[in-house]
Symmetry: C2
Subunit: 219 residues, 2 copies
């Protein structure tokens, strides 16, 4: 469904206390926004925000940022609320490729990629969130234990991501091509897309990738 841009959406985001616009223009890094030392988890492409809100609610000791690059979607996300809307998240109207500019190195512990755009044309692979250029960005902001948690219904994007991560020297600590019939469903929070796909009987792929230990030297 194509969303219409309605005048005032951007201004709504600017005024919303849970939303952040133009994070690169602030004179501090986003990881300083919470006045606590809790770990930071980021969702790139948070859509209407079901996942990030429910996940934040379940994990009050973790700080969340949901990035959304579409102003129309970010607007809908900011307008949504849930009961007991938690305090430990922000919505960021921005693209994920600026992570390294808006977070300090060694500040993000986990990145969620939920049902990212599959960009099926090879000439668009560079836009895939698991393209090597993006993996380089994640590496720059990750703590030593940094993890990518990815879910997608798109098998082509999934296999591409598994290969990219292997080639780029990440440890794959979980790979399942049918999450909802696997033993790894515990604590799974469904996104809006996921609920739809699962109700249609579609299989959901999930992977968790971790930074390999930094090798000091073998001489």
């Amino acid at each position: 469904m194509r969303l219409r841009y309605i005048e005032g959406q951007y201004e709504y985001l600017q005024d919303n206390e849970k939303a952040i616009t133009e994070p690169e223009k602030r004179d501090y890094k986003l990881n300083k926004l919470f006045n606590n030392p809790n770990p930071i988890h980021v969702e790139l492409g948070c859509g209407k925000g079901k996942f990030i809100r429910e996940t934040a609610l379940q994990n009050p000791d973790i700080n969340y940022f949901g990035f959304e690059k579409s102003v129309k979607v970010a607007y809908r996300c900011a307008k949504s609320t849930i009961e007991n809307d938690p305090n430990n998240y922000f919505i960021v109207y921005s693209n994920g490729d600026i992570l390294q500019d808006v977070f300090e190195p060694n500040s993000i512990e986990r990145i969620y990629l939920n049902f990212s755009d599959p960009w099926p044309k090879p000439s668009h692979y560079k836009r895939r969130m698991t393209h090597k250029n993006f993996l380089d960005v994640y590496r720059k902001v990750f703590t030593e234990n940094g993890e990518i948690h990815m879910k997608t219904d798109n098998n082509d994007l999934f296999e591409y991501s598994v290969e990219q991560l292997k080639e780029d020297n990440w440890d794959l600590i979980l790979v399942t091509r049918d999450l909802h019939n696997s033993p790894y469903l515990q604590n799974n929070v469904m996104t809006e897309y996921e609920e739809k796909f699962v109700s249609e009987g579609k299989k959901i792929n999930k992977l968790i990738a971790k930074l390999k230990h930094n090798c000091l030297g073998i001489i």
Copy 2:
């Protein structure tokens, strides 16, 4: 040099506030002994204690335990002091194979193996501190980021250890067969043996091994 047992050495350890005897008989685990959440590093075979004392002095935000299985050596260790003797260490008169009984799982961040007995006879390999049985013990008490830091002048023990660790699925993040002529000497604290060997021109081997990431499942 063979040390003589002098009567009263064990009792001296029992009375010494920095020494712990019979740690397995306490009704709490050793990691509870410090009233702070700082990481715990353990040296197995601390000898006369130069390494653990100097290391503890340099790292006041880490808690140290130096294990020594010889009562005669542990006694000499407890009797030694250095200027500004730090508060953040204990000497434990005990063998390293009881780690899992005296520490909680997920409590130790680093284990130092400095110039351990090489046990050259194959029938004695089981006693080597990098034998698989010992690696299993370390795994049980290590945090997710657990690291073994090993130094030895004994090339045979060193190559054996490299192989054991690889076979047992650890990540070797540092391997050098000539530490003192490598770029990895920074912050090196020498043990008594190391000072002697280095003055004799002997090469020192060093490795750092890290627990591989726990794989949840690839299905």
